[in-house]
Amino acid sequence: MPVEGANPRGGELIHLRQPSQPEPDAGPRRSDVDGWGRSQRVRDVFARLYEPLYRHWFRVEWEGLDKVPTDGGALLVANHAGAIPVDAPLLMHGIETELGRPVYGLADRLFRTLPVAGTIWARAGGVAAHPDNAYRLLHDERALTLDFPEGTKGTGKLFTERYQLQRFGRGGFVEIAMRAGVPVVPIAVMGSEETMPTIARFEAAARLLGVPYVPLTANMLLLGPLGLFTPFPAKIRFRVLDPVRFDVKPDQPRYPKGRVHTEAEAIRAALQQALNDMLAARQSVWLG
């Protein structure tokens, strides 16, 4: 972490100013790719591709979109589902088009190792989930950052476990938000589980390929290999919960583990409660 008073042996250094905002390259540029690899132009292309899916295929509806901060950093956390999840691109597309703010999506570093796909992922706003990356985005660049604390445990789970939140890692997302001094904004996602339900998992194949899971999905059973690219048109609802602010001093070297865990569990419980309510109110998977 770039901490204040950074000189470890002190004394000699006079800190005239501590630039907390990293400076972009003011020189001649040929592209609009930023220091994270995101390109607004690429996002605009994606927006055109995604808009019909967003409006007509998934018919996304928001509840409490006004709770997403219109300025300053905020850590958006959501439940994660579907073998090849559509929740991340839909949330990013939705917030970027409805609020006009860029969203950086934290994801498994596996993406960085993929030729072509990894580059497109980065240009579209994907960032490897590293605590230093999250801190810099939230604190220094005051950006909206999307995280799925369940990670691949959420997307890899079987259809029989749908809408049951998995463990939230070790609560690292809470600690980052505390350190960066930003709120956590939980978002409950309904419908994502039905877009690509996992019927079975092949553990040996996953180990062999070095990926988190190799699923057999309902989409693949119905459509064959095409099922990999075809999520079912389930009705998607997003419910934004009240932002959680932590009453702690930012930029501490560490925060009490117990407190972090308690806060993470409270956010997890609130999300689970919201999912249960939305499930109870849902009349049809396809119509919502």
């Binding site: 000189n7 000699e12 005239l16 972009p24 390259d25 020189g27 190792t113 030729p115």
Partner: protein, 334 residues
Amino acid sequence: MTGRAERPQRILVTGVGSYWGGSVAQALESDPDVEAVIGVDTSEPTIPLERTEFFRTDESFSTLGDVVAATDVDTVVHAALAVDSTRMADQRLHENNVIGTLNLLAALSQDGSSVGGVVVKSSALVYGAGPRDPYFFDEDARRSTRPRTRIERTLLEVESQLRDFVEERPEVRVAVLRFGDVVGNRGHTPLGRALTLPAVPQILGFDPLLQFVEQTDVVRALLFATGRRLSGAYNVAADGRLPWSELITLAGRVPMFLPPLFTGVALGPLAQAHVLDLPLEVRQVLRYGRGLDNRRLKAAGYTYRYTTSEAVLAQSQVRRKSSRRSVHSSEVRA
């Protein structure tokens, strides 16, 4: 540290035969407050020097103790570390970097040494490059990958020697400057040089974000750390982390695509024919990129002349322009 001059006055520069050491010595010469400049290297300086006293040494600086004792230096700029493995065989890397620094530190530890400050020119190679890395390394970051090349191991060993030295001799200030990839017509690292090739290597499907530093900014940073008597570790890389494809365009070149799998195997014959040598530590950067948090040195008061894009553009335009910006003596007191 009693009775020492406020400003460095008698300065020893290692690696004075190289562009880096030579340029530092040249700038120090024009500073009237600098009483003596002492240069050591295995070969004569290539940069024209006027009043620098030159001492020839073997490649591991085994005679440095005598030089330090005889010349009564108060500051050392250690610019002799090799950071480009394509320019030095593995065995010599070890002699030059590890044993060379060992002998330097031994010279500074001997009784009667009057050296109060050391500035070391190190490299961002100590961070490595891999998919688990943060996008911007700060000076306290640990590398996520195991060092697999000799150059990385020697530089890490040098930094560990320096940490031990700081513990043993807390009264001596040690500043370690970790430079990113360098572009320039005189001084450069393999990726900076790659941008001057007619077709620039790029791994197919990867477009990593890279950060460069211009050659004169490297020299200025060394002078700044010397004049400001800094201690601790500092990253030195210009603002701006740009896609490799964009840097190739800025340099006015076209890409030459390398296969994403078996990249090293594909490059083997080219390296043997001395057409293009991209060692592993460089190929990793071409795959994953590397970013440096440059705010600590800026907070200390250093200002860069070039951003990453300006630095790459300057290198590609330098052939047409004969007049180049040179480092001025006032940089020492910046």
